[in-house]
Symmetry: C2
Subunit: 372 residues, 2 copies
Amino acid sequence: MKSIPIILLGCGGVGRQLLHHIISCRSLHSKQGIIIRLVGVSDSSSLLVSDDIMLSGMRNEFLAEICHVKSAGSPLKSLLNHGHCQLYTGQGALENIVSIASSLGRSTGLAVVDCSASAETEQVSSLGCCVVLANKKPLTCAIEDFEKLVSHFRRIRFESTVGAGLPVIASVTRVISSGDPISRIVGSLSGTLGYVMSELEEGKAFSEIVRAAKSLGYTEPDPRDDLSGMDVARKGLILSRLLGWRINLSDIKIESLYPSEFGPDSMSTEDFLSKGLWQLDEKLKERVATASSKGNVLRYVCVIEDSRCNVGLQELPKDSALGRLRGSDNVVEIYSRCYKNSPLVIQGAGAGNDTTAAGVLADIIDLQDIFA
Amino acid sequence: MKSIPIILLGCGGVGRQLLHHIISCRSLHSKQGIIIRLVGVSDSSSLLVSDDIMLSGMRNEFLAEICHVKSAGSPLKSLLNHGHCQLYTGQGALENIVSIASSLGRSTGLAVVDCSASAETEQVSSLGCCVVLANKKPLTCAIEDFEKLVSHFRRIRFESTVGAGLPVIASVTRVISSGDPISRIVGSLSGTLGYVMSELEEGKAFSEIVRAAKSLGYTEPDPRDDLSGMDVARKGLILSRLLGWRINLSDIKIESLYPSEFGPDSMSTEDFLSKGLWQLDEKLKERVATASSKGNVLRYVCVIEDSRCNVGLQELPKDSALGRLRGSDNVVEIYSRCYKNSPLVIQGAGAGNDTTAAGVLADIIDLQDIFA
């Protein structure tokens, strides 16, 4: 039996779903000769560490209890009396993560699984442990810090940072390692913006689409967090860096779907939705019509090509994988020597806690050969 | 530096392309800290083994020479005087593969890379070495032999047996290990039949399409080798077994595109092309029309669902990934809990020596954590 000790950072939607997946996969993984041993778990205020990190991990009942307590919005520390574990808070929590990473990293091995939104992971990557990320932050920092983080490339996995569980990173990594040079990646990497663009194509007004998407829960609480393109840019940055490009977020040209005078600094979310949004309808309608007059469709994509990553609206052929996209699926087209005229296409749901956590779990299992 | 010693079985189109890729990726792999060390290479009649298998492998110049000699149709043994190596023939070749696999498998590790059409690999899989397959034969044998072959699942890779270099096996493996149960796989896994079906959709006659495809080099020398569906069935079997199903080729329902009275036992290739083929036009035209009248299109696919694998013609929705397929691309749709209404889709070129060999090379590199 191979034992993979993990520390989970972050108990939000993805982290909790991961705990559920770990529980329900116990017998499947055991048949594959693998035990995932949760030795620690943190939320934004504290870290719970199992009493015996060398031998056992937290039990299924305790993992379920963690999920229960966290979905109710309570802090991890309220669990202290339920399990055989120690609690550390504030600076002590980080120090303990570093100390566990340092001791297990060198003995049994450890995977630090980051489903948080913090930047702590950078500090543990040099301690000999593996890192699995759903969190984009550690990968979109300064290029020097990124390079430090991925310097042991086989010890890090980050599939769920782009397209959730879709095998985008794994596929790009395979193409690169086979010596097939990638010349271009084009991706629709936001379910929200994919939905917006296909509704625009149907002739609906932008303001109407965004308001409907918000009420359906497809957008962030402030839809400008989606419409700014920043999240797509971060995913584009991760893919660009995977190709070996030494670029930063500031090198990416990002086209926001709203002008800066409608930004959060100048306008509340309510004002944006009621007063700002409809003023954008006409311009987008025109751009859709212009694209259509050339037999194209308008998509919000990241284009990675010629050492540049651009994020924004693009006219694309109607009969390409991206042009045919409907609804909130993500699509990535990869062009290389082997996939020259017709790209390698990966398509599917690219968001949601279930599929994101499934991608994280597949990453953990993929690290198994490093463990004893 | 990690050293991955390999023995290459088979010097056909894929094997030679792999040698070219290994040469041209030397500096890329070296930057990743990997050296692929070719210690032996075989063709159908003999095995060349490097003089010092423990320390060095065959040099780039010698690999190029092997490609040169084999593309000219000469046997490997004509190279004996060009390199520092031993030649073994007949039973001696196999015995030496076993002996190298046995000694290196236990010391430095060894990957046996099977780009042949033989069934020898089965005999080396139990010797502690890794196995990489482009050859479908060892995976489509009796289920008991298959299970023996994949019993150390992390030591075997076979991406290029389904969809050439397309990341189909890697993606299915990820979905499985994340505990996301796969309910259905539908795939158009023959570039030739994909081309035939999309030409039928354009209204062309079956006989005309097949003759054109043959003259363009899209088909096997006897097009019935494609039209029988046997190759698709083998790929379907590999995918079904990957899902854990204990089935054999004989359990798969295969619909051939020609009746048995037109088979190779009753009719020469020439007679089939000139006299048999056109008699099939009307029936296929009708089936395309029937599908079209329901808003569907006709595709030749393997359907893996409810513990059964069926291979043959299926009516599929026009606006699905498979329905939109044009030309010779392969497409695989994977349905699971995470990819329920909208499947995970992988699409791209699924044939050709370049992309098949690229898939084999990515598999070799993916084994690196097992090597010292």
